[in-house]
């Protein structure tokens, strides 16, 4: 990594954080030094409590991502390929889309309780919309010629959808999933903060109420690292899955 003015700025801010707490410039139980935060994080990881909670959160996130993503892709395909379905159900989808996610948690708690099913549903609902939009746009942008060619070769509509349209729309769909992945982590944490005692979100609120600031900041740092890693991992996966698309883009440039 190249050391730039930006790196120095970060190092400077971190040093300022440490010094302001150590030297008593900011005297507040809510303002622990960076080293205390990292020590608290390390201790929480060592007891195994935090890793277990992270595992639970990640599992709920993944389950919601899979369910909502699958529903989004299928609905997007249907809307794009069978215009009647879009005309029938488009309005209902558009009416549900702008509801802020945290607001659907209370009613879902009534139906599904406080545990996994409720949280997975919330994540799935969040993921559904960006994946649907991107699938729709991706399918609509597929070259009509390639579909016509499939028809000429006598390939049936279902196999056309699976082997011509879906791969051609894959870059757009994956872009939708990338957006959805970031949202999924956020919403998992939000759901855990509002309801129940599971996962990393609940731990965060617990530490807030207990006034254990170092643990609280430690969890936030961990979440940032988690979000960053997930995004990087997904981008790497994306590059492998649609290598042909990047190759084409490079050729065109």
């Amino acid at each position: 990594m190249k050391i730039t003015s930006g790196t120095w700025l970060i190092l400077g801010l971190l040093a300022l954080w440490e010094a302001s707490a150590r030297l008593g410039w900011v005297e507040s139980p809510n303002w622990p030094a960076l080293s205390q935060v990292l020590a608290a994080l390390a201790a929480d990881m060592a007891t195994g409590e935090l890793p277990a909670r992270i595992g639970g959160s990640l599992w709920r996130m993944a389950a919601g991502l899979a369910a909502g993503g699958l529903a989004g892709v299928l609905t997007g395909l249907a809307f794009a390929l069978i215009p009647l379905t879009a005309r029938l159900f488009g309005l209902v989808v558009e009416l549900l889309r702008p509801i802020p996610v945290p607001a659907v948690i209370p009613p879902l708690v009534l139906f599904l309780g406080l545990d996994d099913p409720m949280k997975i549903t919330v994540v799935a609902l969040t993921v559904f919309f960006p994946v649907l939009t991107n699938t729709l746009q991706g399918v609509q942008a597929v070259e009509p010629d390639s579909i016509a060619m499939g028809r000429t070769f006598g390939i049936g509509p279902l196999r056309r959808a699976a082997f011509i349209i879906l791969p051609a729309a894959l870059p757009a769909i994956l872009a939708g999933f990338r957006v959805a992945l970031a949202l999924a982590l956020v919403v998992t944490v939000v759901a855990e903060m509002i309801a129940g005692e599971q996962g990393i979100g609940s731990y965060l609120v617990l530490m807030q109420f207990a006034g254990r600031a170092p643990e609280m900041y430690g969890v936030i740092l961990l979440l940032a690292a988690l979000g960053y890693t997930l995004n990087r991992g997904f981008v790497a996966l994306e590059r492998r899955l649609i290598r042909w698309w990047y190759a084409q883009a490079r050729q065109a440039a």
């Binding site: 730039t4 003015s5 930006g6 790196t7 700025l9 970060i10 801010l13 809510n30 009647l84 005309r87 029938l88 159900f89 488009g90 309005l91 209902v92 009416l95 549900l96 702008p98 509801i99 802020p100 996610v101 945290p102 607001a103 659907v104 948690i105 209370p106 009613p107 708690v109 009534l110 139906f111 982590l185 956020v186 944490v189 939000v190 903060m193 509002i194 979100g201 965060l204 609120v205 530490m207 807030q208 600031a213 609280m216 900041y217 969890v219 936030i220 979440l223 940032a224 690292a225 979000g227 960053y228 995004n231």
Partner: protein, 253 residues
């Protein structure tokens, strides 16, 4: 053509009506427990009561004020920082690592520490909304500035435009489509954070009401407030798209 345009939302409306009627029937027939999901007609009546008594406005205005203030502050910071980073390479080198460090932190996780420092009042909520709004706007503004046509910039320099003039009258308008796209994403996020911080702070607003009604088992009220929030989200989105179209009228001709 006219008639067709008038009729085009008709299938969607019919499906919506059918869904509501189906729900009404399912509740009446006892297929869905009334304690979980009261009949849509009774929710509509409750909604009417709230509207008639004028109880709707105070919580709605509280949430609206929060969304607007946070959105305005976050957008202003995002646009200013994005312009500066896109325009002066030195500013970019200074701030880019810091932005990349803060961006992946789920902003919802920052609500608990913000509550420790700023209490549960308006300041805390506005800060959390502004934080979530800033980054999408910043990243999009930056991209927009970078995409400005080199030839136009050279032309401005040839005409001896001062830097400030170029920034305000060439770079900002050219970047506007992307800036507004970022703001559209941020508007949805602003609603999410507003509702979440109201739920966690428990001090009024639509988010607080929805959660509070659920916890006190006033399910009909909960759904009524949820409908109000959904309508608000829909209206804000619609207004923004309208404003966006006006601002970009020169683009699609």
């Amino acid at each position: 053509m006219r008639v067709e345009r008038l009729l085009s939302p008709l299938p969607g409306l019919l499906v919506l009506a059918a869904l509501l009627l189906g729900l009404e029937w399912a509740v009446d027939a006892g297929l869905i427990r009334r304690a979980l999901m009261p009949a849509p007609s009774t929710i509509a009546l409750r909604l009417w009561d709230l509207l008639e008594a004028g109880d709707v406005w105070a919580p709605m205005m509280q949430t609206l004020r929060l969304v607007f203030t946070g959105f305005a502050i976050g957008s202003a910071i995002g646009i200013a920082a994005g312009l500066a980073m896109g325009w002066w390479p030195a500013v970019f080198r200074l701030l880019e690592p810091l932005v990349e460090l803060i961006r992946p932190i789920p902003k919802s996780a920052l609500v608990p520490p913000l509550m420790l420092f700023l209490g549960i009042g308006f300041t805390m909520k506005v800060t959390s909304v502004a934080l979530v709004v800033t980054f999408p706007v910043l990243v999009n503004t930056l991209q927009g500035v970078r995409g400005v046509d080199r030839v136009m910039l050279d032309a401005a320099r040839t005409h001896g435009w001062p830097a400030r003039h170029t920034l305000l009258h060439l770079v900002l308008p050219a970047a506007l489509p992307l800036v507004l796209a970022g703001m559209r994403i941020s508007l949805g996020l602003a609603m999410v954070l507003a509702v979440l911080s109201e739920m966690l702070a428990g001090e009024g607003g639509l988010g607080f009401l929805i959660l509070d009604m659920q916890r006190s088992f006033r399910v009909r009220d909960m759904y009524a407030w949820l409908v109000i929030l959904a309508v608000l989200g829909l209206a804000l989105n619609w207004l923004f798209v309208l404003a966006e179209r006006r601002a970009l009228h020169w683009q699609r001709r």
